[in-house]
Amino acid sequence: MRHLLAPLFRHRLMPLLVVLQVALACAIACNALFLLQQRLKPMLVPDGIGQPNHLIIASNIVSRGQPWETSRMRDTERALRGVPGVTSVSVAGSLPMVLNARMNGRVQGVGRDTRADTAMYIGDHLVKTLGLHLVAGRDFTAEEDAVQNHGVGMHQDGPAIITQSLANRLFPGQKALGQTLQLGDKDPAVRTVVGVVGHLMRNDFGDGSQRNLDNVMLFPGIPSSWSLPAIGVRVAPDADPQQVRKQVEKVIQRMLGDGMVRGIDPSYDMYGTLRDEALAQYRASVWLLAGVCLIVLIVTLAGIMGLTAYWVQQRTRQIGIRRALGARRSDILRYLQAENLLLVGVGTLLGLIAAYAVNLWLMHHYELPRLPWSYLPIGAALLLVLGQLAVLSPALRASRVPPVVATRSV
């Protein structure tokens, strides 16, 4: 150990620079990887939608002057159901990946304290149209879907279907079926859970830092007094979705066209397309952060290589002496590798502390979640491997120093 440490203290500059570089690189890489994972989350979370390319979403159907009448929406729905190739139609207040209308609330089990920030989709035939997978309970019945909502339907009694993650959060360790929910303890309206679906993504994913992207409730019935509805149309697996989309556009234009605000055209998209568009901004930052990580690692690799090469060259004579005194090539190689491991190890340790401190600070000031511990060993391992890669070429060159060098120029 002593022969490893002594030279480090004799020439302090080079080892110090290596340690500092590694520490900085480690701190950056850990935090950038973490931000990267945050941005990736909305892309990786399952959205629960079955057959995304056979689901048409019509949105931005803006009513003029006054909200859409429910009867009119029902007529439109009936007309859409008559289009060949359409298996199910939903008229909803908002739908997944429709970003311009959102309904959110803090929901809690009746008589319980745990609240969860939750997105609500209020509409009829949602489970069938969106292709959701029920893991427990049942879908809404035809009677439940035919309910006349007061207002959008947020604050009234009735059934609800919730996602598994919301069920786990509100009723940990218990069956969610049959439990009752309310939107805050002052709201008298109570909803009974009749079904649980596996996944469904909310339509506000903010910075992607939310932990509850999968907290969603479904309420039945068409929202009334709502001027910005979205209509989901499920296309039969054997029908051509583009063909059906054109028909849907025609029907909606015919049924609702004269009540729309002129100049604002509804959009008719496949769900898959909407999803790609909504996630584009996350994709952009994922590329950016991945690029940053890569460049940081390359720069560090080059930096350690350059410094080690110089430092090895500086010690050519000493290495020659050691070879002359009986050290084998592999001894020299291993000596330099161990030295690099030590330096990079110290740097990594400092870097991890810095990464954690930076994260704590960011968490304190901004809405960023805590850096999970699992990132630290990953970052450390990455840098240690990198360090070994960087030292390989200079160390091999050093191990080939012939013993005769020792006899020269002394």
Binding site: Q21, L24, I28, R39, V62, V261, Q281, V292, T300, A309
Partner: protein, 433 residues
Amino acid sequence: MARGRYAWHLAWRGMRRHPRTSAMVVVVMALGLASCMSVLAVFHALTADPVAGRHGETRTVMFRTKDEKPDPLRAVMQASLVQQVVDRLQDQTLAAVAYGTTRVQPATAPTDAAGDAETAVMFATSRIPAVFGIELLRGQWWTAADDHDGSPVAVIDVATAQRLFGTDNVLGKSIRIDDKRFRIIGVHANWAPALKFYAQNRKQYARGMAQVMAPFSAGDGVDMQMGQMSCPLGNMSDAWKQCSFSQLWAYDLDATQRQRLLQTATQVAQDFDKPPPGVTPVVYQPSLLTVREWLVLQHTVPDSVRAYVWVALAFLALCLLNAAGVLAARFLRRGAELGVRRALGASRRDVFFQHLIESGSLSAVAGAIALPLMLGAFALMRTQSIPYAALIRFHPGTFIALCAATVLTGLAVGVYPAWRAAVVPPALQVKQN
């Protein structure tokens, strides 16, 4: 002079002798500078004062109830409420503002003509030019009397005048906002604060400044797409008056005026929100927000951008450390020849400056490469669907900052290695070899 030339010559020779490490130093520094400056430019665009250059503070009123956390939605209230506050404070630079986008056409165009609904329209009370500092090119603003009568008059910007009529001499002509006719009485200069601050809505980065402005009370019956309101979409007519879509903005109030504004706002809100008998009324405690505070509440600067700033700064530090290390290694490797030079009479200053010139030129080259890299990064960011992409622009200020950063990094990278090279003791080096 000759000495200076000699130092340049030596520095040039030094660079040429190690083309690989020279290239590496340049590339690493250019990457660090470009990434750091790009992120800082974005950050600056998002945080800059949107109404820079005015001496007073622009403020909005947030009608929060007692003990309630600040909530930007509480600054957007019912039209009649804000109207009452404005009416009671005739002597203050204060205006009620409602804004949105809708279709604006010359009145002569056929009513069913297709047109885009994207014209930004602002309905405001008559003191709005003083509150926002909007300059009029010709014509006049509407008066308090117009406010009272709801006169259908409008002030439009030059660009819209050109677009609609092909000329900016449009006084007296009529336009249709949605379906309602308005007579143009004024043309305002393109009023373009760096950010449409009053229309911020949780990271929406609304574009397009108020192109058409009209009296607040003249908005009745106009369908508008409004971003920030309690009903999803709608118009300014009676049925929608219960929806919250109006804001109060005040400019340059002194302490007593602010006090009075808050008092009046409290009273009006309290009267407005009278509960049915038997229910305890909500206690209002409004507060004033500056544009800065308002933008902070709206999360105009996403937390991710703040995180990027730190990542970019740390990355620059890493690059500088890297370059400094490589340069130090290179300079110290020359110990022997420096010893000879020193022994032959070169002063420490000569050696120091020779190396500073060498590192300085490398950083200058890096800065020159960083500029196109940065422009490329901007172009790339604009093609991505980032909500604030439209704000990212290359300013002369950015270029000056880049130059300053280059010089500073050059010094930071060069000084220490150059000093280490300069203190090489001549005798020892000569002896050792």
